[in-house]
């Protein structure tokens, strides 16, 4: 009887994946930044999983890293889960296509309805999919095309799916994410603001926005957990001092800063590293 879209931010399970050593040198990156310190990156990942499992009490499914898939830690791109339906994507980067196999298996084990993208021409990265609780926004980026978005719309028929051009950055969620029910956290760069405008225009719903100075800081993870209320995993003050201050102003939130200094070098954001699932709604 839960009905549609109740309990936004409620999760029971999370799928994560280890960091392969190949990440440091072979992972795709948009910039030419510094070299990734693998050890540090792995430590970040451990902290991340620890928070999910211990602090938040989620059931975490840890998939082993695959050296042949340098980007495999970023599981978000391989699947989009909403309700008890999981859409297995076709990542835009050819080198990442095989990442979906393990994810798919894991999701199947969780008894989710698996939907695969049949169209070879379609590409979709989970990082381009923003689910607000009311609807989907799909960024049309280097990694995601129209066809991919269409398939997503077909997989989640209950929801409106609007497309948002992503002018800069890798993914739609490279500069935005949900910070709560009806609250969009958005970076302050021009492309980010433009994308936000687009989203606001396309939506029948009204969203509040939380603007942070750094686009990278706008990617955070919101959860609404029993006994914990609003939870927000966000950037650390070390990484984005100004943006961190903005988050700190949120009231009634359990704020959990998570360091992401290494992964960000290969365009990894907080949301990238997990697929969150709410199994409770599932009967």
């Amino acid at each position: 009887m839960a009905g549609l879209r109740s309990g936004f931010g409620r999760y029971t399970h999370a799928i994560v994946r280890g960091i392969p050593e190949s990440l440091a040198k072979e992972a795709l990156r948009t910039g030419t930044g510094e070299e990734v310190d693998l050890a540090k990156a792995q430590r970040e990942e451990e902290a991340y999983v620890e928070v999910l499992r211990t602090q938040l009490g989620l059931e975490v499914v840890e998939l082993p890293a695959d050296e042949s898939l340098p980007d495999c830690v970023f599981v978000e791109d391989a699947a989009v889960v909403c309700g008890d339906t999981a859409l297995i994507t076709i990542p835009g980067a050819p080198s990442r296509r095989r990442e979906t196999e393990a994810i798919k298996a894991a999701l199947k084990d969780l008894n989710l309805n698996i939907v695969e993208m049949a169209d070879e021409n379609a590409t979709l990265d989970g990082g381009d999919v923003l689910f607000t609780g009311q609807e989907f926004f799909v960024g049309l980026s280097k990694r995601t095309n129209q066809r991919g978005a269409e398939i997503l719309a077909d997989a989640f028929k209950d929801y409106a799916v609007s497309t948002v051009p992503v002018m800069e950055g890798l993914h739609l969620k490279s500069f935005c994410s949900m910070g709560g029910p009806g609250l969009i956290v958005i970076g302050s760069s021009e492309p980010a603001q433009k994308a936000l405008k687009t989203m606001q225009q396309m939506s029948d719903h009204r969203y509040d926005k939380l603007t942070v100075p750094d686009d990278g800081a706008a990617n955070c993870i919101y959860m609404n957990l029993p006994n914990k209320g609003h939870v927000l995993l966000h950037c650390t003050p070390e990484q984005y001092p100004e943006s961190a201050k903005v988050f700190e102003k949120l009231k009634d939130y359990t704020l959990i800063p998570l360091s992401n200094l290494e992964k960000v070098k290969v365009d990894g954001a907080l949301t990238c590293c997990s697929v969150l699932i709410n199994k409770k709604a599932n009967m």
Binding site: E150, D154, K157, V161, Q201, S203
Partner: protein, 985 residues
């Protein structure tokens, strides 16, 4: 005119008209002599016709008999369109033998016709009030037949009739057998008006409700009938649909005759949800929610409302709970039901099992609760309440346009690629198969932008446009027709949402005070109900509906049945109306009825738009006006210019939407303070002109119910509803058309001929006329500029008829200047009519530059004869039609603009609403120590229907005065542009 009673149809038409207009019986009686004469004529003419047609005696059969017959064929009729008093008599006779009645009817018919004619001739202005009609009928029992003919009129007396219904039924049935002999196809055609037709309305539970309605009944009538049957009070969310000749589902316009809309003899309708309430829980009654559920079940099952597997199962389970109550393992019914019921387009066993499983969990839930739960889930679906239309974007890419409570959505495949919330949309218009929305500029943008989409054809574009207008009105407005100010603007488009808005219906719902009605749910119905049991509604019952219906019908018939004489009368009355409008600022707004009655019957063999504008300036009135504005002394003379531009786009061949633009400029220069107000109104009036054949039809339709053949830009709003020929009519009677054509011509002439109006000269403008008038006006400083009277003009009728779908262009400019001094000479007298016969007429006189510069024809004053000639001769290749009416008030010194003065301030304000754009320029100048304020308002109305120039003008002036009582109106220009679209389909 009486002498012209040449053709049967004409006579008939007149008769009808007269009936419609029904004048006080007094008049009728006074003129017995004439009646007699006329009677003779009529008789003869009838006989002649009869002979020709070979119908013999059958000709004289009362039309109502025919109706009865038709009724009997389909279903038992409850009603008899006779008045109580006479009814008894007639019936008895009928029973005895069919012939007796015939005779009686015949006589009655004659007398009626005669009387009517008289009435027409003698009463110049007709105040048609229903009460009058009724009185008439009752007073003279003989006329009962007449009444019978126009069944609609009888509605007022519904109750009385009701009592007699039972009796009548039996009798009628008996009679029919006899009468049937006399009926010939021709007759049927001719008398089709009175016919009853059987409507089949498919309800949401898939049962068919059958009822009879008068053939000319409006959509509303049938709709109310259905709602009554359903016991539905919150009916504003619903509507009736029909499938048009192109297999498209269309909403039945409640304000228009059904017959005109369906355009076929397929009287099949479906009862559907028209506006999906965003929050169904706010509905007051369970029965309303139940009906909404039924609609949504269908939407979901058909795939129109897509939803996920989970949602399908959830909704399905609520449906089971609502229909069958708690899950009972032993009870096989739900299972059967499931098997026969479609819950989803791709329903499968797994889904059904899941549905049953969920059903179990709903134990204890009442049907109403289950419905509510169903709705709570359904309303969240992204496509809930979204009405999709196929279209292409500017690049030819296939998209879907979705109209919903919040605005317009653009989809490509399943993706939403754009969205235009209602508040963001300034204007919605369509032109041919293009659909446009004008978007409010964003924070950072400076200019509004217009987004265009291509639809399959103009019909689709128009349908989309209408849906948009209705949805916007329903969900965004508090009331469909805003008061005064807005009112002027609303002149623009004829088509309006005519029902209650959501806000109103919610309010109304709060007043519902009845025990929750019990209703049968589908499941139980299926088992017990039989179609035969469906209630049948007869006209008489319809009559009961209430004064509302009756009136509407009446007015309708008025509009439709017009004779030449009426035209004249109308012109006269129009001028009077205008006068009153212009002179008295405060007076009540134009009465729809009067405007409606105004004649516009343009016989259009071709598509022409006839406009009759009467401008006259009565001195007396002027004086009165003077009172309003302080004359001499201290107060500066104020002048206001009102410019109204109207654009009407007329499509040919197939129905074409006509976008019209009306611009009204009002400027009032005053000595001390001069203000100019320009109120340009641009309206897009979609007018459909049909190909030749169709045109003919339309003409014929006129005969039947006139409105269609005429495309009058002048039509008042109310009229427009009924008259706009947005849709082709059925051609039931080509013959009639032909017969009528001659009449039409005559009519045209009459119409064009200037009505003799009173006191002041009628001005028609041609350029010269204008100029002269202006100059004079300028000379005079007296007051009253405001009070211009009116000059009538029938501007242009452009005939376009080319079979190829050429469109006529017309442009007429009328200038009205208030005479400064009391009686001035008429600036222009009369009417100089310039008519160009060339295929592409050029604008001869325009006070202002024509909005449309290409292919314009200006006819300042057209004589009917000339008009008709043109009409027939020309095959204009004009695509747009423009009409401009300019009113210039006397200006203080020569020209107010003449003196430069010192510019103090200037500002421009632009405001836009859905269909109108208002631009206001306010300039303050210092002239010789006096400051002058000029306000120019330009209002552009884009709409789908014809604009009534006269009304627009009058309104513009009136409003200008109301808003700026201290200023005077110096100039009013109404420019109308009609596009005649050639049609593809």
């Amino acid at each position: 005119m009486t002498t012209e009673v040449g053709s049967e149809t004409e006579v008939k038409e007149k008769a009808e008209e007269s009936v419609a207009q029904s004048e006080p019986s007094e008049n009728v009686t006074e003129e017995t002599n004439e009646v007699a004469n006329i009677e003779g004529e009529v008789e003869e003419s009838q006989k002649e016709k009869d002979g020709k047609e070979g119908k013999g005696i059958s000709r004289y059969l009362p039309t109502w008999l025919k109706k009865q017959k038709s009724q009997s064929q389909t279903s038992p009729t409850k009603e008899i369109p006779l008045t109580e008093k006479t009814a008894g008599k007639v019936r008895q006779e009928e029973e005895v033998n069919g012939h007796a009645e015939e005779v009686e009817e015949k006589e009655a018919g004659k007398s009626d016709q005669v009387k009517e004619k008289e009435a027409e001739c003698h009463s110049s202005t007709s105040a048609d009030t229903e009460p009058a009609k009724e009185e008439k009928v009752q007073e003279s029992p003989e006329k009962s037949l007449e009444k019978a003919e126009v069944t609609k009129e009888g509605e007022g007396e519904k109750e009385q009739k009701k009592e007699q219904e039972g009796k009548a039924e039996g009798q009628q049935e008996g009679e029919e057998g006899q009468n049937s002999i006399f009926q010939s196809p021709l007759r049927l055609v001719r008398k089709a008006k009175m016919k009853l037709v059987v409507c089949h309305v498919t309800l949401l539970d898939e049962t068919v409700y059958t009822c009879e309605v008068e053939k000319r009944a409006k959509g509303q009538y049938l709709f109310f009938k259905v709602c009554e049957h359903l016991n539905l009070l919150e009916k504003d969310y619903f509507g009736l649909t029909y499938v048009d000749s192109h297999d498209q589902k269309c909403w039945l316009d409640p304000t228009k005759e059904i017959k005109r809309q369906i355009r076929s003899n397929n009287w099949q309708f479906a009862f559907n949800v028209k506006f999906y309430p965003p929050d169904p829980s706010q509905l007051t009654e369970d029965i309303t929610r139940y009906l909404l559920c039924l609609q949504l079940r269908e939407d979901v099952a058909s795939g129109r409302l897509p939803c996920s597997f989970v949602t399908h199962t959830l909704l399905g389970s609520y449906t089971l709970q609502a229909e069958f109550g708690d899950y009972e393992p032993d009870q096989p019914r739900p299972v059967d039901y499931i098997n026969h019921q479609t819950f989803a387009p791709n329903q499968n066993k797994e889904m059904e099992e899941k549905i049953v499983e969920l059903h179990k969990s709903h134990r204890g839930m009442t049907p109403a609760q289950a419905d509510s739960q169903f709705l709570e889930n359904a309303k969240k679906l992204s496509m809930y309440g979204v009405d999709l239309h196929h279209a292409k974007d500017s690049e030819g890419v296939d998209i879907m346009l979705g109209v919903c409570a919040n605005g317009l959505l653009v989809y490509k495949d399943r993706l939403r690629i754009n969205r235009f919330a209602w508040p963001k949309i300034l204007k919605i218009s369509y032109k041919r198969n293009n659909f446009y929305i004008k978007i409010r500029p964003g924070e950072t943008e400076q200019f509004e932008s217009t987004v265009g989409f291509k639809l399959q054809n103009h019909r689709s574009a128009k349908r989309l446009w209408k849906v948009c207008v209705e949805n916007h009105s329903f969900f965004r407005l508090n009331t469909p027709e805003p008061p005064t100010k807005a009112r002027f603007l609303t002149l623009g488009s004829k088509f309006r949402y005519s029902g209650r808005t959501q806000a109103q219906t919610r309010l109304a719902s709060t007043l519902i005070d009845r025990p929750a009605p019990s209703f049968e749910r589908t499941s139980s119905k299926r088992i017990s109900r039989s179609l035969d049991g469906a209630p049948v509604i007869s006209i008489t019952e319809a009559g009961k509906d209430g004064a509302e219906n009756g009136r509407e019908l009446h007015s309708d018939s008025k509009d439709h049945d017009k004779t030449q004489e009426e035209v004249l009368k109308h012109q006269a009355s129009i001028s009077q109306l205008k006068r009153s409008f212009m002179e008295a600022p405060p007076p009540s707004p134009p009465q729809p009825n009067q405007w409606e009655t105004r004649l516009t019957s343009s016989p259009t063999t071709t598509m022409r738009v006839q406009q009759q504008i009467v401008v006259s300036e009565p001195q007396a009135e002027a004086a009165a006006a003077a009172d309003n504005t302080p004359s001499d002394t201290k107060e500066p003379v104020k002048t206001t210019e009102v410019e109204i531009e109207e654009m009407v786009v007329v499509k040919e061949v197939s129905k074409a939407p006509k976008p019209g633009i009306v611009t009204v400029t009002v400027s009032s220069p005053a000595e001390q303070e001069t203000r100019e107000q320009e109120v340009p109104v641009v309206q897009e009036v979609p007018v459909l002109v049909e190909a030749i054949v169709k045109k003919q039809e339309s003409v014929s339709s006129e005969s039947e119910s006139d409105g269609e053949a005429e495309y009058h830009p002048n039509v008042s709003v109310s009229i427009s509803h009924t008259q706009i020929p947005e849709e082709k009519e059925e051609d039931e009677e080509l013959e009639k058309e032909e017969e009528k054509r001659p009449e039409n011509d005559v009519l045209v002439v009459d119409a064009s001929s200037p009505p003799a109006e009173g006191s002041q000269p009628v001005e028609v403008t041609s350029r010269q006329a204008e100029e002269s008038s202006i100059e004079k006006a300028g000379e005079e400083k007296e007051e009253e500029v405001d009070e211009m009277e009116e000059s009538t003009d029938d501007p242009m009728v452009t005939p376009d008829e080319a079979p190829n779908g050429l469109t006529p262009h017309e442009e007429s400019v009328i200038t009205m200047a208030g005479p400064a001094e009391e009686e001035e000479e008429p600036k222009m007298n009369g009417e100089a009519a310039l008519v160009q016969t060339e295929p592409r007429p050029q604008v001869i006189c325009c006070s202002e530059p024509p909005v449309v510069k290409t292919e314009m024809v200006t006819i300042s004053d057209t004589f009917a004869a000339q008009k008709t000639e043109i009409a027939t001769k020309e095959v204009p290749i004009v695509h747009t039609e423009t009409k401009t009416i300019t009113y210039e008030a006397a200006q203080l010194d020569g020209s107010g603009d003449g003196e430069p003065g010192v510019l103090m301030t200037a500002q421009t304000i632009t405001s836009e609403s859905l269909c109108t754009t208002t631009t206001t320029h306010i300039t303050k100048t210092l002239k010789g120590g006096l400051s002058e304020t000029r306000i120019e308002k330009r209002i552009v109305i884009t709409g789908d229907c014809d604009i009534d120039h006269d009304e627009a003008l009058a309104q513009a002036i009136k409003e200008a005065k109301e808003q700026h009582p201290d200023m005077s109106v110096t100039r009013v220009v109404v420019h109308k542009e009609t596009e005649l679209a050639e049609e593809e389909d």
